[in-house]
Amino acid sequence: MAARTFGHPEVFASIAALSFLVARFLPVLSIPYTCPARGLLGIPCATCGMTHAFVALAHGDLAAALHASPLGAALAGAAWLYALLDVARLAAGRPFPLLPVPLLRAAAALGAVALLANWAWLLAHQA
């Protein structure tokens, strides 16, 4: 059976792996950038702290990652786990599992709720 060996799943796995390499080996925290919401309004945006979370988790500091952004830490862990699983899947020659649309829809809804919860946490702890 001729299966496509580098499709969208592999692109996303590559992006996830690249995010680990960047967070682990590049000085991304030294980039002079401030979130506009935090700078102008004084409150963190919903995605504030994700870079810090990625960098902290890439260096093995789970507590700092969770403190910077719980959703960022979860996203980093999930992305890197997905990259590893995709490499294993390719090595095993298995096709990418098709996810049913209702499951994807539920995941999208869960993601939106998680984003809101993360924002509430950031507002409560960092505002």
């Binding site: 059976m1 001729a2 299966a3 496509r4 499709g7 969208h8 692109v11 996303f12 992006i15 690249l18 980039i31 002079p32 950038y33 401030t34 506009p36 700078g39 102008l40 309004l41 409150i43 945006c45 919903a46 096709p95 098709l98 649309v101 994807l104 829809r105 995941a107 999208a108 809804a109 993601g111 939106a112 984003l115 809101l116 924002w119 507002l123």
Partner: protein, 378 residues
């Protein structure tokens, strides 16, 4: 014979034609007999214009008929990818004014043509190739394997790179409705390449402009900052300084990678939101194709002063129109998917403002009561 499922894109081996079940997703698919298909479409003539949709005098689209799912496209076999009859309409809320995709012209006058490839209308200008008709016969919601007309940029090998690029840009910018209604969505590679090239060009030119004008901009910013609160002024100066010099060189060098990642991540987020609103019947490829071609408007970043604003606003409009057409979900759901993050942000800011205001009122009341308790008049 190896066949590909039009719904899940999975491939499988079979030794017969006709109706069969995809072993990956369980969809019932119809593998057409190549002996029944007509001659394939002629390759495009270099420089031929992208054929616009037939004018209103063209034969109207036949009504959508429920039928079997899209036919699979054999891989490596002799037959070209083919369409089947469309699945039943998925979006009952689609505006009635939104016309269905162009109708298929059956050689026999009824039903889809064998093989699914449709000749260009005789009265129209010569097509540059590929099938006409942006969707399955009847204008239903096709699966990811639906046919359509390749974008000019997808045929850059025959049309020439720059003519194909400019023709595609013109169509995306000025006729997004027609373009995304008809463009093929099952091969998003060209769309992503188009968007990455456009974004890279715009970013590099914008970086050059910014680098040349940075000193003047900084002096003007320092004057402006003096009239701002100290905290915001410090932030603005740091923000503008951070955008200059090394940062711009960094952006220009990494622009291709950054825009490639942006295309995929943006498409993924938009697709999840479309799924949430039940507006993604044609799959991720359609979303990625729309995002990729819409990113072509990032060429406008090269415009000095107003390039960013113009590019962003125009691209948002094109993305909304394009998703509505490419996903056959209508502009409402597309706009909801695009603006949901913005609305979420605004709603949460308003909520935070209300909570903050309530807290402030409570603190004022407590202060007033404390002052009354001490016999102080406020």
């Amino acid at each position: 014979m190896i066949a590909r499922c039009a719904r899940c894109q999975g491939t499988f081996t079979t030794d017969r034609f006709g109706v069969q079940t995809c072993p990956h997703c369980g969809s019932e698919i119809l593998l057409s007999d190549p002996g029944a298909r007509p001659a394939p479409a002629q390759p495009p003539a270099p420089g031929a214009p992208w054929t616009p949709p037939p004018p209103s005098s063209a034969p109207p689209a036949p009504p959508a008929q429920p039928g079997p799912p899209p036919q699979p496209g054999p891989v490596g076999g002799p037959a070209a990818p083919a369409w089947g009859a469309p699945p039943p309409p998925l979006d009952a809320g689609r505006p009635p004014s939104l016309p269905p995709p162009p109708a298929a012209h059956s050689p026999s006058g009824s039903g889809p043509p064998a093989g699914g490839w449709i000749p260009p209308p005789p009265s129209g200008p010569p097509s540059f190739g590929g099938p006409l008709g942006g969707g399955p016969p009847g204008g239903g919601n096709g699966g990811p394997g639906d046919g359509g007309q390749p974008a000019p940029f997808a045929e850059r090998a025959t049309r020439g790179f720059f003519p194909a690029f400019f023709e595609t840009f013109k169509l995306v910018a000025t006729q997004p409705t027609e373009f995304f209604r008809r463009v093929r969505v099952d091969r998003p590679g060209s769309a992503v390449l188009f968007g990455v090239l456009a974004g890279t060009f715009g970013t590099v030119v914008s970086a050059v402009y910014s680098f040349l004008s940075m000193s003047a901009a900084m002096s003007g910013m320092r004057e402006m900052v003096q009239s701002m609160p100290a905290e915001q002024g410090r932030f603005m100066l740091a923000f503008v300084e951070g955008l200059g010099g090394k940062m711009q060189l960094f952006e220009a060098l990494l622009a291709p990678v950054l825009w490639f990642i942006t295309a995929y991540v943006a498409a993924a987020v938009l697709h999840l939101l479309l799924l949430l609103f039940k507006g993604a019947p044609r799959g991720f490829d359609a979303t990625l194709t729309t995002v990729g071609y819409s990113m072509g408007l990032l060429v406008l970043l090269a415009l000095p002063v107003c390039g960013f604003i113009v590019a962003v606003i125009w691209m948002l409009v094109v993305v909304i129109v394009g998703l509505g057409e490419a996903q056959r979900c209508g502009p409402g759901k597309a706009a909801a998917a695009v603006f949901a993050p913005v609305l979420l942000f605004c709603a949460c800011c308003c909520g935070a403002g209300v909570l903050g205001g309530a807290g402030a009122m409570k603190a004022i009341q407590q202060a007033v009561e404390a002052a009354k308790g001490q016999g102080t008049s406020l």
